[in-house]
Structures are given as C-alpha cells and as structure tokens.
C-alpha cells in the first residue's frame, strides 16, 4: 500500500467526520440530480406537441394529397356532397329516426345557435354583438330549398359564413339539416296540427318556458 498523502492525513485529523460529511453531500447531490424530468417529458409526440424536426414545427403532419384514410373513401357522392349530379338532393341519405333528430338538435344548438339563434331566426348572441345578421330560416325561399342545400352550406360555407366541415362530421351535418326542417315546420305549425291529448300540456308548458336556454 502506498503511504498516505500527508495533507489528507492532516485533514482527517482536523475534521474526523469528513468522510461521512462528504458522502452525505454526494448523496444529496445525487438525489437532486435524480430530479430530472425525463419521465415527465418523454421524447414522444402527444397531440399538438411541437417538433423541432419539421420546418413548420408541427408534429402532426399534413396528409399527402390523394391519401384516403380508413372510412374516408367518399364514394357515396350523395352522402358527402348533398348533390346528385348537379342537383341538390331532397332526402337525407339515411333513415331519419327520432334519435337522428335529437342528435341534430344537440349539434345545431352547439354549432349554429351562436348566430342563427335557437329558433333559426338569425338573432343569435354573436349577431347581437355585431356579426352580419343571417337570414331567418322561416322565409319561403329557404323553406323551398332542398335539404341537400343546407348540407352543402355547412360543408362549403356561404358568403360571410365560414364552413363547418372541420367541426361537424358529415353524418351530423345531415342530422342538423333534418333538424332545420323540424324548426321550419315548428314555426309554421298551427294548433290544429297538435293532437288534442297533448294540447292542454302544451298550453301550460308554453306559458312557463321561454325559447332561450336556461343558463
């Protein structure tokens, strides 16, 4: 064994617990180094996390042109465009059940009421804050439009109104279109269209309920 360096020896005389102290300090240093965030921030892409690999900084890549995703073949022209040839179709391309109409109501209330209002009269909240006022759905012109026309407006937009193709899936667009028809009928209805047994109920309900949602 080599003789000990004299300066270390004198240190040990002066600070007898030096070794223990140094090891505690080392342990603490290791412990604080262990606070790395490698597991918290793993090098993987989660939705919308940026990327420094691609020039545009996005980890979600644009789909190359001509790619057909699963279920996106869009062979069914009527379903995806609302047109048959050049003409708007006047029928929803699947059976309209109560469920479809309820779905349509829900989606309409999310995506369209801000401007068109719950009744479709064009007096939504955003319009009251200065957006261009859309026409009411309850005009003869819009009542006579085939249902494919409404689908088309949601898909491609119309004048000052942007399209809703990114926010509303095709099937839901049809459901909304069907619900717009319901709204149109509802504003045309007379009391004679209501079966006599629910008339009484309707009268009492109308007096307590307003068309605007409770908030």
């Amino acid at each position: 064994m080599k003789p000990r360096n004299s300066s270390t020896a004198s240190l040990r005389v002066r600070y007898p617990k030096l070794r223990i102290r140094i090891s505690i300090a080392l342990l603490l240093a290791c412990a604080s180094l262990a606070c790395r965030r490698d597991m918290q921030d793993q090098p993987k892409y989660i939705p919308l996390r940026g990327s420094d690999f691609f020039a545009d900084g996005r980890s979600a890549r644009p789909i190359p042109e001509g790619t057909v995703a699963r279920g996106e073949l869009r062979a069914d022209k009527v379903f995806f465009t609302g047109k048959s040839g050049d003409q708007f179709v006047d029928q929803v391309p699947f059976p309209v059940t109560r469920q479809v109409l309820e779905r349509g109501e829900e989606r309409f209330n999310i995506y369209c009421t801000p401007c068109h209002g719950r009744l479709g009269n064009g007096l939504g909240m955003i319009v009251r804050r200065g957006f261009k006022r859309p026409p009411s759905y309850h005009t003869d012109r819009l009542r006579q439009k085939p249902i494919g026309y409404f689908y088309d407006i949601m898909t491609n937009g119309f004048g000052a109104m942007q399209d809703y193709s990114a926010q509303v899936a095709p099937r839901d667009r049809w459901a909304i279109a069907a619900y717009i028809r319901v709204l149109q009928y509802s504003q045309m209805a007379s009391i004679n269209d209501v079966p006599p047994d629910v008339r009484q109920e309707l009268n009492s309900e109308l007096s307590t309920r307003s068309a605007e949602p409770k908030r």
């Binding site: 597991m39 918290q40 940026g50 996005r58 942007q162 409770k214």
Partner: protein, 216 residues
C-alpha cells in the same frame, strides 16, 4: 461538589426530546404541504397566452358551448385546442381591427400555428382520457372549475394522483346526469350522493384504482 446543572434543566431536556419529535413531524408535514401546494402543482395560477383568450367572455358572456371549440372532447382522449380557423369563424367580422387579435389574423394569413401555452400538463407517464369521463357523466367544471369566470385560463385542481384516486374511489360524489356534463351553471343538488349512487348503477361506473388504469 455542586451540581453543574440545576434540577430544572431535567424538564428542559425532556421537553427538548419531545420537541425534537415534533420538529421532525413539523418538517414532514411542511414538506407534504409544500408538495401539494399550488406553488408545486401550478394550480390556480392564470397562464399568460399569446392572445388573451377569455373563457369568461366566450363561455360566460356569449354562451358558446365547449364543443364548438374543443371538438374532440367527446370521442378522443384529447379535448382539442381550436385551430385558428375556428376563431376566424367569428373574428372575420368581430373585432377585426383589434391589435389584441393580430396574432390570430397573422396565423390565419400565414398558416403558422398559434403557440398556446399549456395550462394543464400531466406527466407523460400518466394516461388520461376525456371521452370516458364525459361519457360516464363527469362534468367539465368538476375538474376544471368555474371556467366561465376565468378571464385567463388556470388549472383548478392539483392534478396529483390523490386527486384522481379520490374520485375513482368515490365516483358517486362527483357524477352528474349526462345532460349536464357541458353545463357551466350546474350546481349539485343537496341529495347529490343519493342521485350519484343511482347514476353509478345506471351508467355502470366502475371504481378503477388499479395502477395500470393510468400508468400503462
């Protein structure tokens, strides 16, 4: 020879032995509190964004539904942050000259993404999924607080494991009818635990506490 220490020091030394335990206990408690504090979890701290987007205005004032902007919250793990185009649906006509909205317009013109700062950020070793919570009747405000009163968004809950587990063990205390999930006005009725128990049965809510539920 007289005593070095007076007798009274006996009590003092006894007290200091007990005191030592309490000091240790206090340190442990302080450490735990610090870990759960808003400082450590970043809860309740409004986050400054490139555009001062206000849920108070858009949700509270204008009554826009969450799903208008967070479109994927019902059918995906990720709730979705709206693309610039969604803002332009309205801001193509509203506040078109506001300097506050210039980053939005610039992003729309140049097709460069807006860089929102994340408010919530679970560690990457935790799996979270919005769609299941929404489908089983857990409302947005249960986890995100009164978002309709936030001029700038902040994180309401601690997002610590104990917070998740508290609800996973007792879902009946938090569940609400599915029709109220997106409502910001919903207040739990006084008998909500009773209703909750029925909803837990009706929605077949399980109590998921196995580690692999969230760490997979």
């Amino acid at each position: 020879m007289s005593q070095v220490f007076h007798r009274s020091t006996n009590t003092l030394s006894r007290v200091s032995i007990f005191g030592g335990i309490f000091i240790l206990g206090f340190l442990v408690w302080a450490w735990a509190e610090l870990n759960a504090s808003n400082y450590a979890t970043r809860a309740k701290v409004p986050v400054n964004q490139p555009v001062p987007f206000s849920h108070e205005h858009h949700v509270g004032g204008l009554g826009i539904d969450c799903r208008y902007c967070h479109t994927s919250v019902e059918n995906s793990s990720f709730a979705g942050i709206p693309p610039t185009k969604t803002c332009m649906n309205c801001h193509s006509q509203i506040w078109v000259n506001a300097p506050m909205l210039e980053p939005v317009r610039q992003s729309f013109r140049t097709d460069q993404s807006l860089h929102w700062i994340r408010v919530h950020d679970l560690p990457d070793y935790v799996y979270f999924n919005h769609s299941i919570h929404v489908a089983k009747g857990i409302g947005c405000t249960t986890c995100h607080g009164a978002i309709d009163r936030m001029p700038l968004t902040w994180q309401e809950a601690s997002l610590q494991m104990s917070w998740c587990l508290d609800c996973h063990r007792h879902p009946e205390e938090y569940v609400r009818p599915r029709s109220e999930v997106f409502s910001v006005a919903y207040q739990p009725p006084p008998n909500h635990v009773e209703i909750g128990r029925n909803l837990v049965k009706e929605y077949h809510i399980q109590s998921l506490t196995s580690c692999s539920t969230c760490h997979r």
